[in-house]
């Protein structure tokens, strides 16, 4: 059984601890004082940097490109009928099942 292997137990502990850290971080951040001016500045600086060097900035550049915008628009035109067909297929399969 994989769950009994030590390396896998370590993985489970790692994932569990990460969730406890995430939940702890939320509680600490939510109920503490602040943010201080320095923290607000650091956050704003981080956001500004993200606008330039991350996917956030890249996506903004993409939106300024007319060709890509047209491609996205046409993809959306395809996406909605496909979504409708998928939902109809799902409902059909679910209704056909006897149990």
């Amino acid at each position: 059984m994989w769950m009994q292997k030590k390396w896998f137990k370590l993985f489970v502990w790692y994932v569990t601890i990460s969730f406890f850290f995430a939940f702890g971080a939320i509680l600490i951040s939510m109920f503490r004082f602040g943010p201080t001016e320095q923290e607000a500045m650091s956050f704003m600086m981080g956001m500004m940097k993200a606008m330039e060097t991350s996917l956030m900035g890249l996506s903004m550049q993409v939106k300024e490109d007319a060709n890509i915008q047209r491609l996205v628009y046409e993809s959306v035109q395809f996406a909605f009928p496909l979504l409708a067909i998928s939902i109809a297929g799902g409902v059909y399969v679910r209704c056909r099942r006897k149990v």
Binding site: W2, M3, Q4, K5, K6, K9, F11, V12, W13, V15, T16, S18, F19, F20, F21, A22, F23, A25, I26, S29, M30, R32, G34, P35, E39, A40, S42, F43, M44, M45, G46, M47, K49, A50, E52, T53, S54, L55, M56, S59, M60, K63, G90, V93, R94, R97, V99
Partner: protein, 154 residues
């Protein structure tokens, strides 16, 4: 190793990465989680989101194939289920994906939609994080370290 078992733990790992990187971007109070490196948090969050959506699609397709094959064997490790925590996970996942897509696509074109979905996305994160702690508590037997048989034999 079972397919549903792999999916469960991959999904848990990706969700953990999403939670941590997402919290770092939630506001100035939360930025310390990733030392205010919002650019890295943003890249990590978006890349993990793509994997998260792919895994979700795989799980849904896996479930559809099971229905079509009339496979009624119990899959205790599957992420989504028809009731209980599985149903809660399924609904929250869909809301996460829809709101995430709106935030990603309309960030600088429709500010009202982005602000509204961002609010839902953030509040749902807190709810999902609390629910995961509850889920871990209920399944805490998985954390028990295997006993050393040799030592026991002595």
């Amino acid at each position: 190793m079972k397919f549903d078992f792999i999916l469960h733990w991959l999904w848990a790992l990706v969700f953990s990465i999403l939670a941590l990187s997402g919290i770092a971007m939630a506001g100035a109070k939360y930025g310390w989680v990733m030392q205010y490196d919002i650019a890295t948090a943003d890249i990590v969050h978006r890349l993990a989101a793509v994997v998260y959506v792919l895994l979700t699609v795989i799980i849904i397709f896996y479930e559809i194939i099971r229905i079509l094959r009339r496979d009624k064997t119990k899959k205790p490790w599957l992420v989504f289920g028809p009731s209980g925590y599985g149903l809660f996970t399924f609904i929250t996942t869909l809301v996460f994906i829809i709101t995430g897509a709106v935030i990603w696509l309309f960030m600088d074109s429709n500010h009202a939609a982005t602000a509204f979905t961002l609010w839902i996305h953030e509040k749902l994160t807190y709810l999902a994080a609390a629910s995961v702690i509850w889920h871990i508590y209920m399944k805490s037997h998985a954390l028990k370290w295997p006993k050393n048989k040799e030592r026991k034999a002595r």
